[in-house]
């Protein structure tokens, strides 16, 4: 039984595909079945993914470009964008460092309790974002473990940047690690051992041997982590306090605008985030395409 908390997709050995143009018809479905299945898929994806996406951009531009530009350049929107970027700049490097070091540990070393550690790294995936925010309120909130001490020393964690950073860190801990661990485990460590036995230092081995091997997986992990950091809503919502112009990240800013029936402005900010999401998907596909090209 796999000891990790979240199940991995079943491992499949790679078998080179043989393309046979004359595949017998008995291994294909009747055309009518094919068309029906394609039709269902296209309809479902259009209804659930494309239509909401189109809706965001159309609603954002409904009242013209001037309103659109104003909505994303007013001071509240700008401070939300700035705060979000600041959180990205703190959280993504930290979780990337953690992802690399934990993947090195798990793939290159043998020790007891490895599966327990893997389970712990996975834990944030199984925890509701709201609970992720709650746990930091329980520690740093006014009634929390350190609440009184922090209050006496004028340190603000909850309803301030540190709380937002902590909650976002928690939610995105597994992203880079889970991308790198299976990759590095499947690659083995023969090259690293050779490099080390020839006298290279650990740092040199990492930079010249390991890093080039894992660069695409690493980039993919960073991009996924980045997307989640930008978009995290539940956890941040609990710890931010929704102070306008101060502790509102972009998703929280959208929520405020939407609840005030400023739909066009809400969708304008949402469209910015959608562009980021589309870019993320594009980069992901380019990476997949590149790594397929390298392996073939």
């Amino acid at each position: 039984m796999s000891a990790t908390l979240l199940p991995e997709a079943p491992k499949q050995q790679k078998i080179p595909k043989v393309h046979n143009p004359k595949t017998p018809t008995t291994t294909k479905e009747p055309l009518i079945v094919q068309w029906t299945l394609i039709g269902i898929s296209v309809a479902f994806l259009s209804l659930f993914l494309l239509l909401p996406l189109a809706m965001i951009f159309i609603s954002a531009l409904q009242k013209g470009v001037v309103v659109y530009v104003e909505a994303i350049t007013n001071s509240e929107a700008l401070s939300a964008i700035k705060l979000t970027l600041l959180v990205v700049l703190i959280v993504v490097p930290l979780n990337t460092l953690f992802g690399i070091l934990s993947a090195l540990l798990i793939s290159h070393h043998h020790f007891k309790g490895k599966s327990l550690l893997l389970t712990l790294i996975d834990l944030p995936f199984a925890v509701s974002p709201v609970i992720a925010g709650l746990i930091f309120v329980l520690i740093f909130g006014a009634q929390g473990l350190f609440g009184e001490w922090l209050l006496n020393h004028d340190i603000y964690v909850i309803f301030a940047l540190p709380g937002i950073v902590l909650a976002t860190l928690f939610v995105t801990v597994p992203f880079v690690a889970r991308e790198l661990i299976p990759l590095m485990q499947s690659q083995g460590q023969a090259e690293e051992e050779a490099s080390h036995s020839l006298g290279a230092s650990a740092l040199k081995t990492f930079i010249y041997i390991t890093l080039p091997k894992i660069k695409w997986g690493l980039l993919y992990g960073i991009i996924l982590c980045n997307a989640r950091v930008i978009g995290e809503f539940g956890a941040v919502s609990v710890v931010s306090g929704h102070i306008r112009g101060l502790t509102n990240t972009m998703p929280l800013h959208i929520e405020v605008l939407y609840n005030e029936y400023q739909f066009t402005a809400a969708f304008a900010v949402a469209s910015l985030m959608s562009i980021l999401a589309l870019l993320t998907i594009l980069i992901k596909n380019v990476i997949e395409w590149r790594s397929k090209e390298v392996s073939s």
Binding site: T26, P52, L101
Partner: protein, 282 residues
């Protein structure tokens, strides 16, 4: 030579950096995951038992659990049905726009939940692009919640089933066909059993994600106690009223439920895979 070598006990080669990576990883995980999460247990233990029981069995809480479980289950089931079809179509058939659709499947992973939430709410509201065609309400009812959860969970099923189908050997299908099986028999006896573990994994991931989902639901649900209030929202409401004890107790129940679910599914997965691999090796 060989005797000489075998006498020498080969110790496994150890790469440097063990203590640094171990130290950092343990430190990071303890400080950021273990310690904060243990606060839920710590705070729950500090409640007295009767109080705890009263909070978690409150009728409002019970109806929130029921709503969360039922909508998550239905959404995960929809994802299994449509996700499997989509994965199949993307791997097996050629059609115009396939690459684009394949790429866009990841949208729910990349799009912030709040953005998805407001977009779906506007679409399915009474006067929305889709909502206007229905005589009954969709947004602000459990149906709206199911729609949002289906959106969120879709990539989990597609992306776990896709690689399995991708590496499936067509030789096995050909063998089945040459032995006289029709297409439906080949599918149900050869292809589908190979897909089951992946489908189950997809279901598990989608369901687990749906249980805790908040951002996309909060807009479309309407958030009426007893009717459209999901469990994460109940925690949020209690927090906003500074009822930390209540929020923590409900959070404890949620954590327990999702861990039990994940361990059960892991066990089930193990059983199925063992049965499947035994059948194969015979």
């Amino acid at each position: 030579m060989t005797i000489l070598f075998s006498k020498k006990r080969r110790r496994p080669f150890r790469l440097p950096g063990f203590s640094l990576t171990l130290g950092f990883t343990i430190f990071y995980v303890s400080l950021l995951i273990l310690l904060p999460l243990s606060m839920v247990i710590f705070h729950t233990l500090s409640l007295n038992w009767q109080n705890f029981l009263a909070i978690i069995t409150d009728s409002r809480a019970i109806s929130a659990y029921k709503l969360t479980l039922s909508t998550s289950f239905i959404a995960a089931l929809l994802n299994v049905i449509f996700g499997t079809i989509i994965a199949w179509v993307l791997v097996r058939y050629q059609f115009f726009g396939k690459k684009f659709l394949d790429g866009i499947v990841d949208l729910p992973f990349a799009l912030p939940t709040a953005v998805a939430g407001i977009a779906l709410t506007s679409l399915y509201a009474n006067n929305g692009w889709i909502g206007q065609f229905f005589s009954f309400k969709i947004a602000f009812t459990p149906i709206g919640i199911i729609i949002a959860l289906t959106f969120i969970g879709l990539p989990f099923v597609v992306r776990t089933v896709q690689p399995v189908l991708d590496s499936f050997r067509t030789e096995e299908e050909e063998a089945s066909a040459s032995l006289g099986a029709n297409r439906l028999q080949t599918f149900s006896k050869i292809i589908f059993p190979a897909m089951v573990p992946a489908i189950l994994t997809g279901f598990t991931l989608a369901f687990a994600r749906a249980l805790g989902e908040y951002g996309s639901i909060v807009f479309i649900a309407g958030n009426l106690p007893f009717k459209t209030e999901i469990t994460p929202l109940l925690i949020m409401t209690k927090l906003e009223q500074y009822d930390y004890a209540g929020a923590t107790a409900i959070a404890f129940v949620m954590l327990l439920a999702s861990f039990i679910f994940l361990f059960t599914m892991n066990g089930l997965q193990w059983l199925i895979q063992r049965k499947y691999s035994l059948n194969r090796s015979r």
